[in-house]
């Protein structure tokens, strides 16, 4: 019984450690993306912002921070670059990144921020990757 209690305590402590780890990760990503954007490297910035999203995290603040980072990266790209970046994401990187991109597009649209830009990104992403990412945004239990 003592062992079980210890395990439970460890499990309670673990989420706290995980949360601190997630927040630190998001902040590191924020710095990385800000750096890339300063150099004008939009494609790398978007790719870096979409890595390892805090899916299913219990901490809303961490999720919001990551959303900020991603939307910043997405909205700073100019219109002509959108198609190229999405094509690059779809063909060269893992397909997870396209799914994450579409999830963040819907998150941004739900908050009613940057609507015009996000609608363009959405059209481009669906053109490239089809309806799959949309369906996965609907069905994935672990939301962004």
């Amino acid at each position: 019984e003592d062992d079980e209690e210890e395990e439970q305590q460890q499990q309670q402590q673990q989420p706290q450690v995980e949360r601190m780890g997630e927040a630190a990760e998001v902040q590191a990503r924020q710095r990385e993306v800000a750096g890339l954007l300063q150099h004008g490297k939009h494609r790398e910035a978007v790719k870096a912002a979409l890595q390892n999203p805090p899916l299913g995290s219990h901490d809303q603040a961490v999720k919001d921070m990551n959303t900020e980072v991603v939307l910043n990266a997405i909205c700073s790209a100019s219109d002509s670059e959108i198609d190229k970046i999405v094509a690059d994401l779809y063909h060269n990187s893992s397909p997870d990144l396209c799914d994450t991109l579409v999830k963040y597009i819907y998150k941004g649209l739900a908050d009613r921020k940057y609507c015009g830009v996000l609608l363009k990104w959405h059209a481009s992403a669906v053109n490239m990757a089809g309806l799959g990412p949309v369906v996965r945004a609907m069905t994935d239990r672990k939301t962004v």
Partner: protein, 202 residues
């Protein structure tokens, strides 16, 4: 609202014969920026709806022999999918809530001023009272929205999915145009009435 629109069209016939009544002041035209977001907005809704309307028959798990739209019942979390919002700006949005056997689509129509608010309310009330004929319309809109559709697997068995999606998109376009048209008719009629009234003091 049907009576106001028919008398509005009657009076606009008279306005053309009264030049001094002035040209009907058109509703403020959407700026190029606004008009530019309409097509991407509707395209986004079209793809999201096409993805969301994958429903099948799923009888109720709780009550025997009952078949309820799970998006309305919301009894079991595993049967409901994540809701998606598509918004054009702060005031216009479309909330799509899918589930295993039904989809609920709620739209908020652009309402620039009080007259448009009143018109939207009356027009949507008119439609919602006739929800039975409409088939997919919900009698009450969701909170913060103007109009809601409820599309169940039964509707998709009877109707084509792409046609249903086309219908919802055309509906959203037409309702904007109708409310604009009604507002123009109201303004025209009000101007004529005021003109005729002031005439007697002229």
């Amino acid at each position: 609202s049907s009576s106001s629109s028919s008398s509005g069209s009657g009076s606009s016939g008279r306005s053309s014969s009264a030049p001094a009544a002035g040209r009907a002041r058109a509703a403020p035209r959407p700026s190029a920026k606004m008009a530019n977001t309409l097509k991407p907005y509707l395209d986004c809704i079209r793809t999201t709806l096409t993805a969301a309307m994958c429903v099948r028959n799923f009888p109720s798990q709780i009550v025997e022999r009952h078949n309820k739209p799970e998006v309305e019942v919301r009894g079991n979390r595993e049967l409901i999918l994540n809701p998606l919002t598509v918004s054009r700006n702060e005031n216009e949005m479309c909330l799509i809530e899918p589930s295993i056997n039904s989809v609920r689509v709620s739209i908020r129509i652009k309402q620039a001023d009080e007259i448009e608010e009143i018109l939207t309310r009356m027009f949507s009330r008119f439609l919602m009272q006739r929800a039975e004929q409409f088939v997919i319309l919900r009698r009450k809109p969701m909170a913060n929205f103007d109009l809601s559709f409820l599309i169940t697997h039964k509707h998709l068995e009877d109707m084509w999915k792409h046609k249903l999606v086309d219908f919802v998109i055309t509906f959203m376009e037409d309702i904007d145009k109708e409310i604009n048209g009604m507002k123009i008719a109201i303004n025209t009629r009000a101007r004529i009435v005021a003109y005729e009234y002031i005439q007697q003091f002229a």
